[in-house]
C-alpha cells in the first residue's frame, strides 16, 4: 500500500514512469541497468571499487572555532525579504511553461552566487563551487517542469539540487563512473503532498525556525554548513553525542508542530 502511494508520488515528481520490473524483460526500450553493467563483472568491480581516491573538493578541515563563529554570524533575513521568495517560484514556473530566459537570468543572478557560497562552506574550492553552481542552475532549467510550487519553495528545491550534485561529485571522486552514466543522478525521495501543505511557504518556514532555541538552531545550521554528520559536529562542539541528538530531535518536534499547526 505504501508502495502504491510512493509510486504515485514519484511519478508526480518526475512526470514520467521510472519503474522497471527487474523480474521482467525491459519493454520500454530504455536499458534500465545503464552503461556500467554492460561491461563484464571484473570491469565493474574495478570501476566500482578499484578507483584511486581523489580529494579535489576538500581543502583542509576547518577548526571548531571557525564553525562556531560561522554558525553565529549567519544573517537572518527579515520576513519582508522572504515574501519576495514566491517570485522565484513563479520564475521557475515561467521557465517550465515557456522557456523564459529572462526569468532564468533573474533566478541565476539570485541563486547561483548563494549556491556557490553554500558549496564553499561545504568545503569546495572556488572554481569547483562555481562549476557546481552553474550545473545547479542548469538543472533548474532542465527540470523546471518537475518543480511544483505547491509542494516546495524555490529555495528548498534549488538547495536539494545543489546538495545532490555535490554528493554525486564526491561519489565520482570516490569511484569514477562514466560521466554519461544515468545512474549518477541521485535518487532522493521527498514528502507526500498531504503531509506537507505548508513547507512551500518560506515565510512560514522562517517563522518556524525563529521558534527554535539558539542551541537547536546552531546544531541545525552546523548540520547544513559544516559537511559533517551529527556525530562529528558533537565532537567539534565538545558536546556529548546525546546532547546533539536531543537538540536535533527537539528542533524537529518544534518544526513539525509549527508547520502542522499553520496548515
Amino acid at each position: 500500500m505504501t508502495f502504491r502511494c510512493f509510486e504515485t508520488w514519484i511519478s508526480h515528481l518526475t512526470r514520467r514512469s521510472v519503474y522497471v520490473d527487474a523480474t521482467l524483460p525491459d519493454q520500454s526500450g530504455y536499458d534500465p541497468v545503464g552503461r556500467v553493467i554492460r561491461r563484464d563483472l571484473g570491469d565493474v568491480e574495478k570501476v566500482m571499487y578499484g578507483a584511486p581516491q581523489i580529494k579535489s573538493l576538500r581543502p583542509p578541515p576547518r577548526s571548531a572555532a571557525f564553525l562556531r563563529r560561522d554558525a553565529r554570524v549567519m544573517p537572518r533575513r527579515t520576513e519582508a525579504a522572504a515574501r519576495g521568495a514566491a517570485v522565484y517560484s513563479d520564475m521557475i514556473v515561467a521557465i517550465a511553461q515557456r522557456g523564459d530566459r529572462d526569468a532564468f537570468a533573474s533566478l541565476f543572478s539570485h541563486f547561483a552566487p548563494r549556491v556557490k557560497s553554500y558549496l564553499m562552506r561545504m568545503g569546495a574550492v572556488s572554481e569547483a563551487a562555481e562549476e557546481l553552481a552553474q550545473e545547479t542552475l542548469l538543472t533548474v532549467w532542465r527540470k523546471a517542469s518537475v518543480f511544483d510550487p505547491s509542494r516546495a519553495a524555490a529555495s528548498t528545491w534549488i538547495f536539494t539540487i545543489a546538495r545532490n550534485l555535490r554528493i554525486d561529485l564526491a561519489r565520482k571522486d570516490n569511484r569514477p563512473i562514466p560521466a554519461e552514466d544515468p545512474s549518477v543522478e541521485r535518487p532522493l525521495p521527498a514528502a507526500p503532498e498531504a503531509l506537507l501543505a505548508v513547507a512551500q511557504d518560506e515565510v512560514l518556514i522562517r517563522r518556524a525556525i525563529a521558534t527554535l532555541s539558539d542551541d537547536q538552531a546552531q546544531v541545525i545550521r552546523l548540520a547544513f554548513f559544516s559537511d559533517k554528520p551529527h556525530a562529528e559536529i558533537a565532537e567539534d562542539l565538545g558536546l556529548p553525542l546525546g546532547t546533539v541528538k536531543s537538540r536535533l530531535r527537539l528542533a524537529m518536534a518544534r518544526l513539525r508542530v509549527r508547520l502542522e499547526s499553520l496548515q
Binding site: 508502495f3 538547495f159 554528493i167 543522478e185 521527498a190 548540520a223 551529527h230 530531535r249 518544526l255
Partner: protein
C-alpha cells in the same frame, strides 16, 4: 538495535543536509520510499536548508557566468531514473537493483549477498538475502549498521522488522537476527567495519560472506 523502526532525527538531518555516505543514503532512501512520515520530516528539514541557502551572503561569480549558463541551457538533460521497483521489494535506488542483478553471489546455503558500494573508509553497503526461518549467526559490528528491510521480515530480540522498516545498531550490540518462517528476507545494509562472529557457526559463515 533501536526499536523505533525509523531513522533517528539526527540521521534524517544528516540525510537532508547531504552528509551521509552514499551507501547510507541508499538505506535511508529505501526507508523513506516506504515511510510517509519520515519523508515529511526530511522535507521540512530541507525547507530549513532552503531558507539557510537563501540567507547566505552571495559569493562573487566569474563575469561570464550567466552568459556561459545561457549558452548551455539547451543541452539535453541526462536520462533520469531516480528510484526503481521490482514486484516483490519496496522501491529502492537504482544502484541497489543493479547490484542485485549483477553482483549477487551465494555466500552460504540459503544466503546471498550483493555488494552495492564500498567506502568511504570501512563502510560496506550490500544486499543480504536470508532464507525463511534461518538465523544470521550471532555477531557484533565494529561500527554502526543501518538496515532497511526490502522484503520479508526478521526478528531481533523483542522486535520484528518488516518490509520498509529501518534498524540501526552501533558497535556494542551483539545479536542474531532470525528471519520469519513465512518467506525469505532481503535487507539493504550499510555497515561500518567487518562483522565479528560470536559463535562457531558465524566463524564458519564469515569467510563465505566476505563482504
Amino acid at each position: 538495535m533501536t526499536s523505533s523502526h525509523h531513522p533517528s532525527t539526527a540521521v534524517l538531518v544528516d540525510y537532508a543536509a547531504g552528509t551521509l555516505a552514499i551507501g547510507q543514503v541508499f538505506v535511508v532512501a529505501a526507508h523513506l520510499g516506504a515511510c510517509p512520515s519520515c519523508r515529511a520530516d526530511v522535507e521540512r528539514i530541507e525547507a530549513v536548508g532552503g531558507v539557510f541557502l537563501n540567507d547566505l551572503p552571495p559569493e562573487k561569480l566569474a563575469p561570464d557566468a550567466l552568459s556561459r549558463a545561457l549558452a548551455q541551457i539547451e543541452r539535453p538533460a541526462p536520462a533520469s531514473t531516480v528510484m526503481q521497483a521490482r514486484a516483490d521489494w519496496i522501491t529502492v535506488p537504482r544502484d541497489v537493483l543493479e547490484a542485485a542483478r549483477r553482483r549477487r553471489r551465494w555466500a552460504a546455503p540459503g544466503v546471498w549477498v550483493a555488494p552495492v558500494t564500498k567506502g568511504p573508509g570501512d563502510l560496506r553497503t550490500y544486499l543480504l538475502r536470508v532464507a525463511p526461518g534461518m538465523s544470521v549467526p550471532r555477531h557484533t559490528h565494529r561500527g554502526s549498521e543501518m538496515v532497511c528491510v526490502l522484503k520479508g521480515a526478521f526478528v531481533d530480540g523483542a522486535h520484528t522488522y518488516a518490509r520498509g522498516d529501518f534498524a540501526y545498531s552501533d558497535g556494542d550490540v551483539e545479536h542474531c537476527p532470525v528471519v520469519t518462517r513465512d518467506g525469505e528476507c532481503v535487507c539493504l545494509v550499510a555497515a561500518q567495519g567487518a562483522l565479528i562472529p560470536r559463535d562457531w557457526v558465524g566463524r564458519v559463515f564469515q569467510p563465505f560472506v566476505g563482504i
